[in-house]
Amino acid sequence: MNDKMNIMIVDDEVIIRESFSHWFQKSGHLVETAASGIDALEKLQRIAFDVLFIDIKMPGMSGLELLEKVKAEYPDTFVVIITAFGTIETAVEAMKFGAADYLLKPFKPQQLTLVMEKLVQQKKLACEYTYLKGHLDRITRFDNIIGQSPAMKKIFELIPEVAASDASVLITGETGTGKELVAKAIHAKSKRHSNPFVAINCGILPDALLESELFGHQKGAFTGAVQARKGFLEVVSGGTLFLDEIGEISAKMQVDLLRVLDEKKINRVGSSQSIDVDFRLISATCKNLDDMIKNNTFREDFFYRINVIIIHLPPLRKRKEDIPLLAAHFIEKYRQETNKHVDHIDRDAMKLLTHYDWLGNIRELQNAVERAVVLSKYRTLTADNFSFLNTTGNAPSRRRTLQENEREYIRYILEESDWNVTRAARVLDINRVTLHKKIKRFDLKRN
């Protein structure tokens, strides 16, 4: 870590600000100054500082008031209180509010040197802590599955238990709830972790192509099959096959897969020779398979074969306590990706995110944070950065049917995507063909 600090001097006396600036600039520190608490808070919104030197006695907002606000909004920023009117009581009060140190003007050069050495040391420790905490988080969060809600804690407990067995798993939950992440976590914790994890979105592929992708084909099996090709059921050998949108597969494919699950053998398309396969199946769906069974669109025997263990992921609106954690995670992710100094979110913005219904779940939240980070001019995201969220029309009326909500949400995403079907389908995590069908079924038209 570099010993150079980003410092802000907050003092109403220009001579003190200049004196501090010259002093620290000689050590190569970056120095910014502010003449008042308001000025300092405005600069804090734009720039990340390591240390603030705050004069305790200023007109308007006092140094202690500013200290309190800084520690509430930017707890990682060190604050050193400076004063010419020091008493033990004010020193104690400043330390109580979280000041890192306290200096009486004018101070001896060695006192300032000691304070700076201490802060550099603390910054190093804080960096190490953040690194180790991040490392620990990576271990305990099952690769980006984040949550502290009771529902997610239960899932965290369930994943290692499920991973220990070889039984088929069905993961249910709305689009964008992180079904594939849970599947990956199960694979990562299982004895199959050193073998492939293959994910296929059944909703994207037409039936014939899905069959060829899964089972492979012999040379000449169909037009265009110019050479033999292994299917994913062979490729995945020893690993985990994740079939997303399992509710989209045809009745024929259900039968074919049922046979594979029973016999652990496949035949490539166009071949009569059986090949042994070894994989664990994890399926996922956002559909209600019980209803589909009742409507005879999903086979009951296949259903019982794939859902030996069922894991339901709750929608984000049912675990709102996870939103601040997720938002912070995505801010950090996009801060790193975009290399922008955006690392805070104010209370109003967090309140807005927490109260929003997130019909697109975590994926929608992730996209919203990415958009806000990319467009933000300041280091702190405010409610204005999320003005694109449709907060008034967002909360679905409880009197609406599920179908009405689906129609409304699809219309909303299409409007958001400027009626670019490919983009909208990606957000909705369905294929374009399905989206076109839904547009037709719901009679959706561009305004």
């Binding site: 010993d3 050590s27 004018p106 101070f107 001896k108 050069p109 040197t113």
Partner: protein, 181 residues
């Protein structure tokens, strides 16, 4: 010797022993390979004196120096016997304009006791170290984290006595690059 027409001007502020000025000049020549010229005395500027603190404001002395019109000199270092301060700290041994033209060194506190106090050479050694350090700032060197470097910041005389008379490799390189410009 590093090429360049202009020299380092050494200007006594108030009464300063000539021997000190000569020692400073020869050490600038030896350690930094820069030509020097000892200039006429400047009276301590009254505007820089702070009645409350009974000290001279180093920044204001530098301001006064800049109005002297010392065009011929690349950099100018003042040597004084007055106690110096900058507003945030009780005292300074020296002060310089970062990447600027003027610097000042005070002998006032360099006389203070140490185990080697009886050796007058210690005063000269300290004066030279502070002078070379401040010249480093004039050539835009920053404080160095290496305690074995002349650009390491010394907040006490003990620190100063433990600091060597030369730059570390990095500061030496940056100094040479800046000095030939």
């Amino acid at each position: 010797m590093i090429r360049g027409e202009k020299t380092i001007g050494i200007i006594p502020v108030g009464t300063v022993p000539n021997l000190v000025l000569e020692i400073v000049a020869s050490n600038i020549d030896i350690h930094l390979s820069l030509p020097t010229e000892i200039l006429s005395m400047l009276a301590p500027p009254a505007a820089a004196f702070d009645e409350g603190r009974q000290q001279y404001d180093a920044g204001k002395v530098l301001q006064a120096m800049s109005s002297l019109g010392l065009e011929r000199h690349k950099k100018v270092v003042a040597i004084c016997n007055q106690d110096l301060f900058v507003p945030i700290v009780t005292h300074v041994y020296g002060e310089a304009q970062q990447n600027g033209k003027y610097a000042i060194v005070s002998l006032f506190r360099l006389h203070r006791q140490s185990e080697r106090s009886k050796q007058s050479s210690l005063l000269y050694e300290r004066t030279v170290k502070i002078t070379l350090h401040e010249i480093g700032h004039l050539f835009n060197l920053f404080h160095c984290e290496d305690r074995r470097c002349l650009m390491h910041f010394s907040s006490t005389l003990e620190d100063l006595d433990a600091t060597p008379m030369f730059f570390c490799n990095y500061c030496d390189h940056f100094f040479k690059v800046a000095a030939v410009r």
